[in-house]
């Protein structure tokens, strides 16, 4: 049995979220503040018996995006799969949470409702039945509700996923149209059957390893000392065969210590002094006795773990001598063993929640840590913000948390992909880093040139890095766009993805008839035809997916870069690369030729000669603030960038003006210095940017803003 789904409604930064989980190890990836801890908290409320027995939620636990919380419900739901009633321990789970839709299935649900008590729900229902209901009356009922009027209800066998808006509106209530369900219709087939008696968390073994913790003290404390737990049997007793013998030995030891002459001397001394002080009649008898505990349980508390470093044979030290990572490793292993040995028979399932293991355990160990896990009985949840750990875990058991406005966004990158695609994607991601899963927006390119030049262009022209804009540029090489782009989808990663490629229109004008084409023309025509086909295919692929958009260079990247009025940069590159003045002159002339058939051919020749990647590196050295970003690239950036915040725009504006002051096109006599001082004198950044747009309508930043808000 394992948790296959978690649905959260209105809890903390989750307005409505639903996460799918798999057997075995699951990873939850998210940047700081994306709600990883809240998510774990939600799971723990449901399954961790060490949480307070009474689940009390507070105003601050309501998601802020719902506005006024009064009247709303917080709902946390777990769905289980592979419930097996013939498995003895699981029969309790089956009894309490087995699915409501069809009891023969192996699914089960377990829900927490934090909702107004029935009398308030009844008033809401009565209002909704009233023909002349008004918002004011609703308001009146709602303002009368306080947190004390809320109840926490656990239910099994629920049959509705409340993270789906329609369900929430129907079964909790629609505050807009003032329609609320009748609470006296218990509808146990929808909400589930209230739990009483058996407490579900008690039936699970749940280990939570928080991000920062003191393993040594966990191991030392009595209650959590896994060593003692490992010695206990089913009845929680520790039975030791030689118990009597050892207890006897301790008694002898105690007697021996008590009988030491030195000890006796002290007690005689004390007795003597008292007698002298108060006289024989009133003096109490004093004796000194050794009291080493003779109780087995107390004796066993002296058991301590000694560990040796694999690199340092023969040496064993106490736990604290070990690195933090090593100690954590041992802690987790002991917890696993404890479950295997002690709890397996009596507990329904074992869950391990590890918060940010990158804080303690080296990536390589993480990779192997859970590989030998008994996946039937143990499910692991790992939360991380590390891209390293994500590259070791499969995307099929991965959920990505994104920070949205007042609510978290959740992506499951493999949802509804077929198994073969998933495996291939996982291989791809494994070797190519996984930062595309974290980016707020992505630009996919298929060549080194773009991969090298575009970040440099943005950095030099706009003064910010792609990272700062939240954009990752991924070179998919020869993988094929579709294979990677399928990640970005309504059902999966809901992030914008620009696909950047060449349309390969011929740079030479081709006659209508292909008869009589020269070899060069032939290859141009061939490229043009395949380019057209590729465009058609890609356009069709992206159609209907609002997260994907293709952007095409008319010819090829290098040619379009040149045509964007960047001959200066190319010539500067050539001047550095060639020694002979004649070569420099000849190439300059070709590059500056108005006919793209000539200049284009030359720039392609150069790229060919140096290698496209290397040539791009060479060009990148000559890029500066007045280099022009080709329009299709600018469009791709604007699509991939999730949103330009005012701060960023303002700093770009500042950067541009500062740079333009010293370097601008010949003949440009704009007083950039004055503009800059005017810009920074604005109190309001939005106004400052408006000013910038008005003053410099042709500037790249102005164009970018227009594109972004188009």
């Amino acid at each position: 049995m394992y948790i296959s789904k978690l649905s959260i409604r209105n809890f903390r930064n989750f307005s409505n979220a639903s996460l799918d989980f798999n057997k075995g190890v699951n990873t939850i990836i998210g940047e700081n503040g994306s709600g990883k801890t809240n998510l774990f908290h939600a799971i723990r409320i449901m399954i961790d018996e060490s949480m307070p027995r009474i689940t009390k939620l507070f105003e601050t636990d309501f998601n802020r995006s719902i506005g006024e919380w009064k009247g709303h419900w917080i709902i946390i739901q777990l769905e289980f799969q592979e419930l097996d009633s013939s498995e003895e321990a699981q029969s309790i789970a089956m009894h309490k949470i087995g699915a409501a839709d069809d009891f023969d299935s192996t699914k089960g649900t377990y829900s927490l409702y934090f909702r107004p008590r029935i009398d308030f729900r009844r008033s809401l229902f009565e209002l909704s039945e009233d023909e002349d209901k008004t918002d004011d009356e609703l308001e009146k009922i709602l303002t009368g509700i306080s947190l004390n009027d809320y109840e926490t209800v656990f239910a099994g066998r629920g049959n509705i996923d409340f993270s789906i808006d329609d369900n929430y509106l129907k079964y909790v209530g629609d505050f807009e149209s003032i329609t609320f369900p009748d609470p006296d219709e218990e509808k146990t087939d929808v909400y589930g059957v209230k739990m009483y008696g058996i407490s579900i968390p008690n039936e699970f073994a749940c280990t939570f390893a928080k991000a920062l913790r003191d393993v040594e003290s966990d191991l030392r404390s009595y209650r959590d000392n896994p060593l003692l737990n490992l010695l206990r049997d089913n009845e929680k007793n520790i039975s030791v065969a030689k118990k009597a013998e050892i207890e006897g030995q301790v008694e002898v030891l105690n007697n021996n210590i008590s009988g030491l002459d030195e000890v006796k001397g002290v007690s005689t001394g004390i007795t003597q002094t008292i007698k002298e002080a108060v006289g024989e009649t009133y003096a109490p008898n004093v004796n000194i006795k050794s009291e080493l505990p003779s109780d087995m349980e107390k004796l066993l508390q002296s058991l301590k773990l000694w560990v040796g470093d694999p690199d340092e044979e023969g040496h064993e030290g106490r736990l604290w001598e070990l690195s933090l990572g090593g100690a954590n490793l041992i802690y987790l292993s002991l917890k696993l063993l404890e479950f295997e040995k002690v709890k397996k028979e009596n507990k329904i399932a074992n869950f391990i929640l590890i918060e940010e293991p990158e804080a303690h355990i080296h990536t390589h160990i993480q990779k192997t840590l859970f590989q030998k896990l008994d996946k039937q009985k143990t499910q692991v949840f790992i939360s991380t913000h590390s891209t390293h750990i994500s590259s070791v875990s499969a995307i099929s058991s991965m959920n990505i948390l994104g920070r949205g406005k007042q609510k978290a966004e959740i992506y499951n990158p493999s949802k509804n992909l077929d198994g073969g695609d998933i495996v291939k994607l996982e291989r791809y991601l494994d070797t190519n880093r996984t930062n595309l899963l974290f980016a707020k927006g992505v630009i996919l390119v298929e060549g080194d040139a773009e991969h090298i030049l575009i970040p440099e262009l943005v950095k030099k022209v706009l003064g910010v890095s792609l990272d700062e804009l939240g954009i990752s540029i991924i070179n998919i090489g020869s993988t094929g766009f579709e294979n990677v782009a399928q990640l970005f989808h309504e059902e999966r990663v809901q992030r914008n993805c620009s696909i950047l490629t060449d349309n390969d229109l011929s740079i030479v004008e081709l006659p209508d008839s292909l008869i009589g084409d020269s070899d060069y023309e032939k290859s141009c025509r061939q490229s043009e035809i395949s380019g057209k086909a590729r465009k058609q295919k890609l356009d069709a692929y992206c159609k209907g997916n609002k997260y994907l958009r293709p952007f095409y260079a008319k010819h090829t990247f290098e040619v379009d870069f040149l045509l964007a009025n960047n001959s200066f940069e190319i010539i500067a590159t050539v001047n550095k690369a060639y020694k002979q003045v004649a070569d420099k002159k000849r190439i300059k002339k070709l590059i500056e030729d108005k006919d793209v058939a000539i200049s284009g051919k030359e720039v392609l020749r150069l790229a060919e000669k140096f290698g496209k990647g290397w040539f791009a590196i060479m060009v990148s050295e000559n890029i500066d603030n007045i280099t022009i970003i080709p329009k299709y690239i600018l469009k791709a950036i604007s699509f991939a960038c999730p949103s330009f915040n005012t701060n960023t725009l303002f700093s770009i504006a500042k950067y541009r003006l500062k740079k333009l002051e010293t370097r601008h096109f010949d003949g440009d006599d704009t007083d950039y210095k004055k503009l800059l001082s005017e810009l920074i004198s604005f109190d309001n950044q939005i106004e400052a940017i408006e000013f910038y747009k008005k003053q410099l309508p042709e500037d790249v930043l102005t164009k970018l803003i227009h594109l972004a808000y188009a």
Binding site: I54, K56, S85, S86, E87, E88, A89, S91, I92, M94, H95, K96, G98, A100, F103, D104, R117, I118, D119, R122, E151, G156, R157, N159, D184, E185, E186, K187, T188, D189, G192, V193, K194, Y196, G197, E203, N234, E235, E345, N346
Partner: protein, 580 residues
């Protein structure tokens, strides 16, 4: 731990298969059952497994729990209760969502409410008071009543409109659930280690069907342990059927091992030989007690007139007390409440110095499952060290029940039951009439705990049942009930003294001297008793209570409503015996 059990008992306890234990009167049946439970509790290897004890009354369940604790066994994994509580807790509540009839919630129509509905309907359909209509269902899902089918259909419709479920429907719906969803049986069978059934001879067909359905679950190792005595099957009129070993095996589709407890530790051999006259089985019963060879006194009086009956009984009681027999070793019995209650009152007034444990009729007793009855008993049983554990358990059960109704008490309190008791103990009322007293206490309590129960459908409905039911009983001149609060409180007080009770009420008990009157055809057996050998079985139960002395009375002078005289019970009158 099996010390103190005889060989037969030990054999039954340690047997690991399904057991059908037939136990003759006085053979230590409850003892064997308790030890079996304790034995299995001790041997539980899986701490989640539950042992179920299905008893005939709630009191019997309490008794088992008490005895288990006295054996120092851990009763965490023991569940004990009536078959109806069993069905509610393990089948109806957890799986209600699968039945359209139940999924929107339900309350229990208590005995009083159901009786009131039925008697109203009888009037409407032109039936008279003693016409019997059955509200039971058969294992095939059909209603048992065929002649007055329309009446029953209307009755069920009224219940369903009010989202009520009566006791027979608890069984019916449970059976429907577990037969429709075999997974439920499988799940339950896996959760249970053992199901014990006490007094199996009084089990209804539908109840057998429910238990056997669970045992038919696809997996799981749950075993049955059924205890009883077919000779003591006295609930035939309520549908109880004492199935034979073969019938049980057929029903459960599995083998049972038949064990017997044939040693009687209660009566002397002479008493045993006498009551074996009424035995329908052929099991040999041997007196094993230290009193085995003592001689008995057995009398049969069929001449005393009903007006001299009390004096006659007073004489026997006085003689016994004089002879040094303790009060609680004497018992006065009759077949019906109508005969017992006036007798108790008269005995008390004629023997003012003697203590009596006489059942009175409480106006409340028909509402035992009612939540307000459960509040009432906490107000009526005064706190004392003796009652502490019981009251605490009642309080816990009450808090859990309220939680089911959506009323959460003392949410952040770790000692909820203690807090509830503390609040209850702090409340008093100056009202002298029992019902007013309770009403005021209830209202005060709900002010203290800050709950407006009028908003809660369940509590409101049950409030009406409770008070209307009690009022109606108080008004009934037949019962002649005392209305003052002190009498109310007495209902819950178990004073030791001469027991005055009905034949059914003394099930399982034993006395030195048993005095039984009203042994008249029409009373014993009752007119509408249709079960075979009903009279023999009741006589068997009555006589087997006695250790040493038995006084049987078929008094003269009683007449039916139409003026005909009652005659002595034929099955008794026809016995040829040399009475003392």
């Amino acid at each position: 731990m099996l010390k103190g059990l005889n060989e037969q008992q030990i054999e039954a306890v340690v047997e690991q298969g399904n057991v059908l234990l037939t136990a003759c009167p006085g053979s230590g049946k409850t003892r064997a059952l308790t030890y079996k439970i304790a034995y299995e509790l001790e041997r539980l290897t899986n701490s989640k497994k539950i042992i179920i004890a299905v008893t005939f009354t709630n009191r019997a369940a309490d008794e088992i729990k008490k005895r288990i604790r006295n054996l120092n066994a851990d009763d965490t994994n023991l569940w004990a209760g009536t078959i109806h509580s069993f069905c509610l807790e393990w089948i109806l509540r957890p799986y209600m969502c699968y039945l359209d009839e139940l999924k929107n919630g339900f309350s229990i129509s208590d005995e009083f409410n159901s009786e009131r509905l039925i008697s109203e309907l009888k009037e409407k359909y032109g039936l008279v008071f003693f016409d019997s209509v059955s509200t039971r269902y058969l294992p095939n899902g059909e209603k048992e009543e065929t002649i007055n089918r329309e009446l029953i259909d209307e009755y069920h419709e009224i219940l369903s409109n009010e989202k009520l479920v009566d006791f027979d429907q608890i069984l019916h719906y449970s059976h429907k659930l577990i037969t429709t969803y075999p997974k439920i049986s499988e799940t339950l069978k896996n959760m249970f280690q053992l199901i014990c059934v006490d007094e199996y001879q009084d089990t209804q067909l539908l109840q057998y069907a429910i238990l056997s359905q669970i045992m038919k679950g696809a997996s799981g190792s749950c075993k049955m342990f059924m205890v009883g005595d077919s000779d003591q099957a006295i609930y035939g009129s309520l549908g109880g059927v004492a199935k034979s070993l073969a019938e049980i095996e057929k029903e459960f589709k599995t083998t049972f091992i038949n064990k017997e407890l044939s040693g009687n530790y209660r009566s002397n051999q002479q008493i045993i030989d006498y009551y074996r006259n009424f035995q329908t089985s052929t099991i040999e019963i041997k007196a094993f007690g230290s009193n085995a060879d003592e001689s008995a006194i057995i009398t049969y009086n069929k001449t005393v007139h009903k007006d001299e009956l009390v004096e006659y009984i007073v004489k026997i009681i006085s003689d016994k007390l004089e002879a040094g027999i303790p009060e609680h070793e004497i018992c006065v019995l009759a077949p019906t409440w109508y005969m017992v209650i006036p007798m108790g009152r008269k005995l008390k007034s004629l023997l003012p110095d003697v203590k009596f444990d006489a059942v009175g009729l409480s106006p409340l007793l028909k509402n035992k499952e009612n939540v307000w009855f459960k509040f009432a008993r906490l107000f009526l049983v005064p706190p004392s060290p003796n009652t502490y554990l019981t009251r605490k358990r009642w309080a816990t059960e009450l808090i859990n029940e309220l939680k089911d109704y959506g009323v959460v008490l003392f949410e952040n309190d770790d000692f909820k039951s203690k807090t509830l008791l503390k609040n209850i103990n702090s409340i008093s009322s100056k009202e002298t009439e029992g019902l007013n007293y309770l009403k005021e206490c209830f209202l005060k309590l709900f002010v203290i705990i800050e709950v407006d129960f009028s908003l809660n459908e369940h509590l409101q409905v049950q409030w009406d049942f409770f008070f209307k039911g009690a009022e109606k009983r108080l008004e009934n001149p037949d019962f002649d009930l005392a209305k003052d609060i002190e009498s109310f409180k007495k209902m819950f007080k178990h004073e030791e003294g001469v027991v005055v009770n009905t034949c059914h009420g003394i099930k399982g008990a034993e006395f030195d001297t048993v005095i039984a009157f009203g042994l008249l055809h029409g009373k014993l057996p009752n007119w509408n008793e249709s079960t075979e050998n009903a009279a023999e079985k009741l006589l068997y139960v009555i006589c087997s209570r006695a250790k040493r002395e038995l006084h049987l009375i078929s008094e003269t002078g009683r007449t039916t409503n139409s003026g005909n005289s009652y005659f002595p019970t034929r099955q008794l009158n026809s016995i040829i015996y040399e009475y003392n």
